[in-house]
């Protein structure tokens, strides 16, 4: 727990540094006529201060020996990566393939990644989902979802 919180703290600290860096590139102005960069600059500095305080506090706690040991469940990073990849691909081809096709392909791949073995269930399930979504969003709600090359 402690170590992971600390990683988070460091990431947030870096976020603060990046914000401060880019804010300084913008006009700061005065308080009478605050410039574009003034408010983000204040926030960036505030974030650096807060995260530093937090990290110091964590460090002190660790010294006191309050370390909490958490049980790590065996995780499946590969499954997560495949899942993320399928989502990213779907978004990438959202306009080109068109909504109904993307919906179908996304369902098939996600179900497969999560370990649905039989194509006999995966294909009809995905097909029905895509059709229902198509009628719900495109036909009934008239949302201009991309048609793509199948032209639906």
């Amino acid at each position: 727990m402690n170590r992971e919180e600390a990683i988070g703290g460091i990431v947030i600290f870096l976020f603060g540094v990046v914000t401060t860096f880019f804010s300084l590139k913008m006009p700061l102005g005065t308080f009478r006529m605050a410039g574009t960069g003034l408010f983000p600059l204040c926030l960036g500095v505030l974030l650096i201060v807060l995260s530093s305080l937090f990290l110091i506090k964590l460090y002190l706690q660790k010294k006191e020996g309050k370390h909490v040991i958490t049980v790590q469940l065996p995780s499946s990073i590969k499954q997560l990566m495949l899942f993320l990849g399928a989502m990213l691909l779907a978004t990438l081809f959202f306009n080109r393939l068109g909504y109904p096709l993307v919906a179908f392909l996304l369902m098939v791949s996600l179900l497969k990644i999560l370990g649905m073995k039989r194509w006999r269930t995966v294909l009809p399930l995905s097909f029905i989902t895509a059709i229902v979504c198509y009628f719900l969003f495109v036909q009934w709600l008239k949302i201009p979802l991309p048609r793509g090359w199948i032209g639906l």
Partner: protein, 502 residues
């Protein structure tokens, strides 16, 4: 007062004609459906159906559109509870305990409590609307930029630690939210900020993308990362007699419902992000006064009942500034204003006297609509709760598809889907590293308003900071914030000295 009552009776007469009842019912049903779908919130729902009302008379049109508005608010909590997907700002808080309740097999009571709480809060809201609202609406005008700034600071500091885990961590997340909120066009000078040349970032980061990403997608990813055999499991299946709240649940909820209704009504009158402040405040208060605050975040029914009621009554009172001042304080009411205009009704100080049938008819229909929603929603509870019977390995892909589709519908933009996925990744990491999403979302909503109010105040005062403390309302909020920050420190010192004494 008696006169108002008489008008209200006339209003009921108008609202209970068969065709107006039908429009009310249609609006409520369509609204509920739209609310259940992630992404399409009340705003898009109303906008989609405005053209369909061109042929109706104004009263019927507004009755139907208002029905969509509060129907969507009802429906919005459903996805929060079942899938941890908040469709709009108001249902972020409901995710915290509602989703935990559902995970423990208590989705039914959570959904039913929402419906009952919303109905009670709606009833209170209507009476407030009729009797005490008009003078209060004028009072809201006392809020100028300095008052806003102080209110936002108060809300920001006090509410950011809404879940009560760690103040410093919550504040960190809140500041991150504020920074994300600065992306886009500078509201005061019109210059681009943190957009890195992308035109899509000019309008800022879409709130719904962050909310669905952090909560919904993040949760799905956490589940996917678990070993494959865990996915075979289902959520605890609710038994039939557990589908509705027990007497004990109701007893626990009634206090939060009433308090939530009061808070929501008050906050709704103030211009600004009322649903957010109302739901966060209600949750905060319930957690503070609860006898078992450790249950919050793990499925406390009070954490669902209070905020949902607060949200509903804030929605009701949001109609007051619209009708009395002709000024919409929230985006959904802005859409309704547009609909009113297209029907030849200009809301404003003259509306109640010029279009009494519309004003009182709509108010009465709101009450009837709330009742319709209650009887419409309670039978749906088992149906929705049974969605969780679906095995996770089927449910998770469905959630993803719904989120992607819903996200697109908000702005018809693929870029928003990218943003949602990005924040899904962030949400996943936050969950792993034990950080909270709620403060970030609060800050994302309040941040831009906070900054604008701050800069406006100083522009008006020519750079004099005295403007924040010379005005009584603003001063009061700042004092309250200071007390909130100092109080725990004093208590801590007190505790330490006590220990030292022993």
């Amino acid at each position: 007062m008696f006169e108002s009552l008489q008008h209200l009776m006339t209003g009921f007469g108008i609202a209970t004609t068969i065709h107006n009842l039908l429009y009310c019912l249609t609006g409520a049903i369509v609204g509920t459906l739209i609310g259940v779908l992630p992404g399409i919130g009340p705003i898009a729902g109303i906008a989609l159906l405005i053209p369909a009302t061109f042929g109706l008379n104004p009263t019927s049109a507004i009755i139907m559109l208002a029905g969509i508005y509060y129907g969507a608010m009802y429906g919005g909590s459903t996805t929060s509870i079942l899938l941890n997907v908040p469709g709009e700002t108001a249902s972020v808080i409901t995710c915290i305990d509602g989703y935990q309740m559902a995970q423990k097999g208590r989705a039914g009571p959570a959904l039913a409590t929402c419906a009952i709480g919303s109905f009670i809060a709606g009833t209170i809201g209507i009476f407030g609307l009729v009797f005490i609202a008009p003078p209060l609406a004028e009072a809201a005008l006392a809020f100028g930029p300095p008052e806003y700034f102080s209110l936002m600071v108060f809300g920001f500091i006090v509410l950011s630690n809404v879940t009560g885990i760690s103040l410093i961590k919550s504040l960190m997340m809140a500041v991150v939210g504020l920074i994300i909120g600065t992306i886009g066009l500078d509201p005061v000078t019109g210059d681009a900020r943190f957009t890195f040349g992308s035109i899509y970032l000019l309008g800022g980061i879409e709130f719904v993308a962050v909310a669905i990403g952090l909560f919904g997608i993040g949760e799905v990813l956490i589940n996917v990362e678990k070993p494959a055999d865990l996915l075979e499991q289902r959520v605890l299946i609710p038994r039939l007699r557990e589908l509705y709240p027990t007497l004990r649940d109701l007893k626990r909820s009634i206090g939060p419902i009433l308090r939530g209704a009061g808070i929501g009504f008050g906050v709704g009158l103030v211009p600004g992000p009322a649903p957010v402040i109302a739901t966060y405040s209600s949750y905060m208060i319930e957690r503070k006064i609860s006898k078992n605050p450790e249950e919050f975040g793990k499925g406390a029914i009070e954490g669902v009942a209070g905020p949902e009621s607060a949200n509903n009554s804030a929605c009701q009172s949001a109609f007051i500034p619209l009708f009395v001042l002709g000024i919409p304080f929230a985006p959904p009411t802005a859409i309704l204003l547009g609909a009113l205009l297209i029907h030849g009704v200009s809301p404003g100080p003259l509306m109640i006297s010029q279009h009494p049938e519309l004003f009182w008819g709509v108010i009465a229909s709101m009450y009837i609509g709330n009742f319709i929603l209650l009887i419409l929603n309670l039978p749906f509870v088992p149906l929705f709760a049974n969605i969780l019977r679906t095995p996770k390995k089927i449910l998770l892909p469905l959630i993803i598809l719904f989120c992607i589709t819903g996200m697109f519908t908000v702005n018809n933009s693929v870029f928003d889907i990218w943003m949602m996925l990005l924040f899904g990744g962030v949400g996943f990491l936050m969950r792993k590293w034990a950080y909270e999403g709620a403060p970030l979302l609060l800050a994302l909503v309040l941040g831009p308003k906070l900054e604008v109010a701050f800069r406006q105040s100083l522009m008006i005062s020519h750079g004099d900071f005295g403007v924040f403390v010379n005005r009584p309302i603003s001063m009061a909020f700042l004092l309250a914030t200071a007390i909130f920050l100092i109080f725990p420190a004093i208590r801590l010192m007190f505790k330490k000295s006590k220990k030292g004494g022993i």
